[in-house]
């Protein structure tokens, strides 16, 4: 079981780190988040924290995750390599988890590079490291969820662009729902703000670990991976 997942994620990770695409995406990610970082510390009252930066980063994830994941299953369908993968002694779940693990590796690597910002903050100021750690945990959970959504979108179409657009659309919807929540009342408002992906991130940005939100991200991720696996399985029945 583990062996197959590792074999698949090793292959995908190698592709990520051997083609310019991932570097370009990572550079854009770092440049954008870097911009928000500079902006957040150069306001009149610079909070020695990554709070603003973290919130801005989630916006960047919304763009980044669909682009990073769009290739993973769309290309397999387009090249027809899915036929060989699905006739190898590998379970559909292992295919999905293997691909997903590779994106997590890229996510963690990229987040590690942003630790540079933390070092800068420590250099120039005296930030509270506790909330900073919580912020990173939030980014990790948020990123993991967005990547699972991107991977699911990638299973829906053999066209990478279509996959990216679907993934972006879903993420945008999950974000906008949070904005819409205050416009409604009662149960609807409650439900909408509970579904919203950005609302769940707010606590982390404030340095608070809310179990609700942790559960939300984990459930969302598992659900998406499950749907991806089911979608692969259903291709067999067409």
């Amino acid at each position: 079981m583990f062996h197959n997942i590792l074999a698949i994620s090793w292959k995908e990770t190698k592709v990520y780190f051997s083609t310019p695409a991932a570097y370009i995406i990572a550079t854009v990610f770092l440049a954008l988040t870097g911009y928000f970082f500079v902006q957040s510390i150069s306001v009149a009252l610079p909070e020695a924290s990554l709070r603003q930066w973290a919130i801005a980063s989630t916006a960047v994830f919304t763009l980044w995750a669909p682009v990073l994941t769009m290739r993973l299953l769309a290309e397999e369908q387009k090249l027809g390599t899915l036929e060989l993968l699905m006739t190898s002694p590998v379970r559909d779940t292992e295919i999905v988890l293997g691909k997903y693990l590779a994106t997590l590796i890229v996510l963690v690597s990229t987040l590690m590079i942003t630790l540079f910002y933390v070092i800068l903050l420590n250099w120039f100021g005296d930030p509270d490291m506790g909330p900073m750690f919580v912020g990173y945990l939030g980014l990790l959970l948020f990123g993991a969820a967005t990547l699972s959504i991107g991977l699911f979108a990638s299973s829906l179409s053999p066209n990478q662009i279509v996959s990216a657009v679907i993934g972006f659309g879903v993420l945008l919807m999950l974000t906008l729902i949070g904005q819409a929540a205050p416009l409604t009342e009662g149960v609807t408002a409650q439900v909408l703000s509970q579904i919203s992906i950005t609302n769940h991130f707010q606590d982390f940005a404030r340095g608070i670990i809310d179990t609700h939100s942790v559960v939300y991200f984990v459930v969302l991720t598992v659900l998406m991976l499950f749907l991806t696996s089911r979608n692969l399985e259903s291709r067999r029945w067409r």
Binding site: I8, G80, T81, E83, L85, T87, W237
Partner: protein, 318 residues
């Protein structure tokens, strides 16, 4: 576990509907250990559909298949472990090198490191990929990609090799080489390959399954099949004489099944079809002399294998 240890591929009443459309219907056959069998049929006859069910890529609408005794649906992973598969379009990861690709294909089949690197050396030699080992697959010609496809299919020394149109779309020299390679593989593998080229099966296979419109219509050795199908042979005769009378006389020769005439006037060419065991050439000679006509040419025409094949599929259409 295995119902018959010698039966490596068993298809029982395999049926696949695409919606209401019949892909294949009621296909049954058994392929025994060591056999090299051709699945022969024109485009759209259901070859790929059959192979996709055998390899577990898609389940049949109804029916059962077993590979090396393992049910493809119920015991899927074991069945898949026993198969090496070359799909029709030879799908490959174009951004990988040949070596990395083979390493990946070996690792998802659970081959351990030492064995895998030994096998990669072997299949690279066997498929003559040596010079391209470190090349990106995107840069390889179609013929070489085909070899990479075959290399991954035999990498894990599968008990059963399933190849969907292994010589389609590559240049003639590579076709000859690929056929030779398959013949070599046939010495120690059980192989099912599909093709729509009749001469190919007589070159490679010991047995042929002929599929047409989703149904198996014949099953035999290539030689027997050619013999059995030779319901009639043909001679071409150029005869000077009155057309209608010549036609009637030719038709009256025992064993002749059909006569057609081309050309007008006194001198015409007659195509005389006859049953395989009744050569009418001497009878035609006697007939012409007896009637005082002129025999200007008398040629046996052996029907091409393609023609026989066409006949077979046409005659089964009802």
């Amino acid at each position: 576990m295995a119902t018959n240890p010698q039966a490596m591929i068993e298809a029982r009443e395999l049926t696949k509907y695409y919606g209401d459309f019949v892909g294949v219907e009621n296909v049954s056959f058994t392929i025994h250990k060591g056999e090299v069998v051709g699945l022969l049929g024109p485009n759209g006859s259901g070859k790929t559909t059959t192979m996709r069910m055998l390899t577990g890529f898609m389940p049949p609408t109804s029916g059962v298949c077993r590979i090396a005794g393992h049910d493809v649906l119920a015991d899927s992973l074991d069945a898949r472990r026993a198969i090496g598969y070359l799909p029709e379009t030879v799908p490959l990861y174009t951004d990988m090198t040949v070596e990395d690709y083979l390493e990946f294909m070996g690792s998802i089949r659970g081959l351990d490191r030492d064995y895998l690197s030994r096998r990669i050396n072997q299949v690279v030699d066997l498929c003559r990929l040596g010079t391209y080992r470190k090349s990106h697959i995107a840069k390889l010609s179609k013929g070489y990609r085909q070899r990479v496809g075959i290399a991954q299919a035999i990498l894990h020394e599968p008990q059963v090799l399933i190849m969907d149109e292994p010589t389609i779309g590559i240049d003639p020299i590579q076709v000859v080489e690929t056929r030779q390679l398959i013949k070599t593989l046939g010495e120690d593998h059980t192989i099912l390959l599909s093709t729509h080229i009749l001469p190919e099966v007589s070159l490679i296979c010991q047995r042929v399954l002929i599929i047409h419109d989703g149904a198996l219509v014949a099953e035999d050795t290539p030689a027997n099949l050619a013999h059995r199908l030779r319901a009639s042979d043909r001679v071409e005769a150029e005869i000077r004489g009155p057309g209608a009378a010549v036609m009637t006389a030719l038709r009256a020769i025992p064993g002749v099944t059909n006569v057609t005439r081309t050309g007008e006037g006194d001198i015409a060419t007659y195509n005389v079809d006859f049953r395989g065991d009744a050569d009418p050439r001497e009878a035609i000679g006697k007939l012409v002399i007896g009637n005082n006509w002129g025999l200007r040419k008398l040629n046996p025409l052996s029907m091409s294998l393609e023609e026989i094949f066409l006949r077979l599929t046409l005659s089964e259409e009802g």
